[in-house]
Amino acid sequence: MSATATPVTDGNGKNYLNESYGLKSWLLTVDHKRIAILYLISITVFFLVGGMFAGLIRLELMTPEGDLVEAETYNKLFTMHGIAMIFFFLIPSIPAVLGNFLLPLMLGAKDVAFPRINLLSWYVYITGGLLAVVSIVMGGVDTGWTFYTPYSSTYANSYVLLAAAAAFVNGFSSILTGVNFIVTIHKMRAPGLTWFRLPLFVWAHYATSLIQILGTPVVAITLLLVMLERLFRIGIFDPTLGGDPVLFQHLFWFYSHPAVYIMILPGFGVISEVVACFSRKRIFGYSFVAFSSLAIAVLGFLVWGHHMFVAGQSVYTGMVFSFLTFLVAVPSAIKIFNWTATLFRGSISLEAPMLFVIGFMGLFVIGGLTGLFLATLGLDVHVHDTYFVVAHFHYVMVGGMVMAYLSGLHFWWPKMTGRLYSEGAAKAAVFLIFVGFNFTFFPQFVLGYLGMPRRYHAYPEEWQALNILSTAGASVLGLGFTLTLLYFIWSLFFGKKASGNPFTAKGLEWTVPSPPIAHNFAEIPIVTEEAYAYGDEEEHSTTADSTANTKQED
């Protein structure tokens, strides 16, 4: 990182947020930072939409009978919850918000390689999102986010075409982002910033982009085939037309399994940055963490059949996929051990970003280990398509990914907005989210092993107690998320102004003002340090800027 301690400013107090005003300056921006903010607002809207559906689902499941909504409505609720959360929140989240904002800054670049394509990716996302909203408003789709055939291609009477089109279009946003990041990382690193001096956040996004580019086209084609079969009765998946319904599952999961790694790998990147800063130490085993991201990207493409152990695959096919699934667990374990080792002999402080990381470590470990239950063939037969699976993926997606996203938002919020949020409120939110989350989803492991199937509108009454516990937890979880939204918005208007480096972190993004100027750097920096060069500097470091006693911007 460059040797300057004083952040560079545009003398007029201008930054990327205030250098131009008006809707056009935002909707036609090519500034990666503004595009990140556009994404931030959009994915938050979809998170609220998906969250609302989740609330209704949990409300219905408080009683064993299907008495809140009709069966068809319930089926639409869980379908739309999945589609909104997976395609329109989780997959874009960290890459589109934090990746877009930070990658050029971390690389010492003025923007991404293709700024206009970056804007295009947001418009493609919005188009897909609008199609999804239209499909909801017109009556919704009830196939499950997994669109299994022949139900989706022949039998469903809901807005399958619209919903599939929404996901289809949205996939291109993902591909464009992936292409942009790969080229940016290869071509736009500042002088001296060699591959092994890169922040692990960058490695994580590189691996993610590989998956986005290679995997997304497959789901696009698959959804297109479903749309074609629905429109023209071609006979790809419907056996009465000569098709094979299981073919759909192979095609669908070939993308959708790697998709979960698109979701979690950027989260891993955030964790590395936050652990290093809040232990004031270089990440233990840097190259192992970097390569494990690539290993996950590659191995992640080889395990899709673990969603199909009882789908009609041969026993031998099942064995191959089970074995490979156990293998892909190992690189994730390596990361957890390396992050833990980073804490050893560190200097640890527990501000909100670090608290979210600790929460992540706990919840992701449980989520990842329960994945092994599902990888175990003999056991998966029993728990497949039960609430055990639902609990597993919410532990990794919400307990893992969303915690990591929130950690990143809290860490870089001062950089992105120039404001500090209330640390006390943030600590309260971490607590509510962690407790609420566990009460929501841990009982679901028990329910799943008992035999409660997924996507059930009504269930045997002896399972009501566990369902009530889960719903109670969901309300606390919802409260935690709402609190976060509120204090972030509050901070925009009333939060104390942040300095260039409130957490005294290493990284090129912390050498510029908060918020940065439109072109990031007045001069491209020259990098002479390793990544996370905490404890390497001889110069006196400025006192850490905490939320308790803030300084004005230099």
């Binding site: 130490k281 009609g312 667990a329 003999g378």
Partner: protein
């Protein structure tokens, strides 16, 4: 809220083995999670920041440690994989001579046919202590036959047969669920397995009500009514091959290929007869696709199977 079960009962020969895998994984998970949690908590407290000028030494890594925590989990993973695969084989491979029952799933009910003739909807009566094999297909979308107390589950797919076997170890009633989302009444597609001791089962099976015609008899009747016997005569004197003693054996096709005459082949030969013609015969059999139900096909298959006993 009367009961508050936290664990399903074990009612099949395989349940105990599946639960063993479960508890093994629970144990391993507890071990590793407690290990990680306690280290994280311990380090966070022990190494908490004491002053703003704390400058810990950067420790870059340790190859021995990396190798250790890569190789040890790898071996544990392979171990668990092997145990899981072993139980999986047992779940998937039915023992010799099971009692055959036929299941047709449709939105949103389970139609069950016993070989001896009894038909049921959403209920499956079986004897205690005898392996039972379900041969299943769907009339519409993908369903899944799931009996939690037996720890078994199998997708039920339109256009093909899938099988599921189990041996009950307890008398009683056990829930059946559909475990693959299949539309509006997916959560209503439930039923129960009724396990009876063998004598009570025999009485139930041969008792009145629910149809007296066995599957073989029904198949024989359909064979005649649908006109099959006009071409499929004994000896190869008819326009179609004789079906005596063909089931379960390989047959040569006009393409030169050899295939096994199993459930799937017989079903395809009825629905799409031109697909795989037996060598020496013309492709003249009428197509029955869309004209007969899945149950009728199962009856016909059972009848053809029965022709291995050299009668008629």
């Amino acid at each position: 809220m009367s009961d508050f079960p936290l664990f399903p009962e074990q009612a099949s020969t395989v349940a105990g083995q599946v639960d063993f895998l479960y508890f093994l994984l629970v144990g391993l998970s507890l071990f590793f999670s407690l290990l990680v949690f306690s280290l994280v908590v311990f380090f966070t407290i022990r190494y908490r920041r004491r002053s703003a000028d704390d400058r810990p030494k950067p420790i870059h890594g340790s190859i021995p440690l990396e190798l250790a925590w890569t190789i040890i989990p790898l071996f544990m993973a392979i171990g668990v994989f092997t145990l899981g695969a072993d139980v999986f084989f047992r779940i998937k491979r039915a023992p010799a001579d099971p009692l055959d029952v036929y299941v047709v799933g449709k939105q949103w009910m389970w139609k069950i046919q016993h070989a001896a003739g009894k038909r049921e909807i959403n209920e499956l009566h079986i004897p205690l202590g005898k392996p039972v094999r379900l041969t299943m297909t769907s009339e519409d979308v993908i369903h899944d036959f799931f009996i939690p107390a037996f720890r078994v589950k199998q997708d039920v797919i339109p256009g093909r047969y899938t099988t599921l076997w189990f041996e009950a170890t307890k008398v009683g009633e056990f829930q059946i669920f559909c475990a693959e989302y299949c539309g509006t009444q997916h959560s209503g597609m439930v039923g129960k397995v009724v396990v009876m001791d063998p004598i009570a089962y025999h009485d139930w099976l041969t008792g009145g009500g629910g149809g007296g015609e066995s599957l073989v008899e029904a198949g024989a009747r359909q064979f005649q009514q649908l006109g099959c016997e006009t071409c499929h005569k004994t000896g190869d004197t008819g326009r179609g091959p004789s079906l005596i003693e063909v089931f379960g054996k390989p047959v040569k096709l006009t393409s030169g290929e050899e295939v096994l005459v199993d459930d799937a082949y017989v079903r395809e030969s009825i629905l799409q007869p031109k697909a795989q013609i037996v060598a020496g015969f013309e492709p003249i059999m009428p197509i029955y696709e869309g004209q007969i139900s899945e149950e009728t096909i199962l009856q016909l298959i059972t009848y053809v199977k029965s022709l291995t006993v050299t009668e008629e």
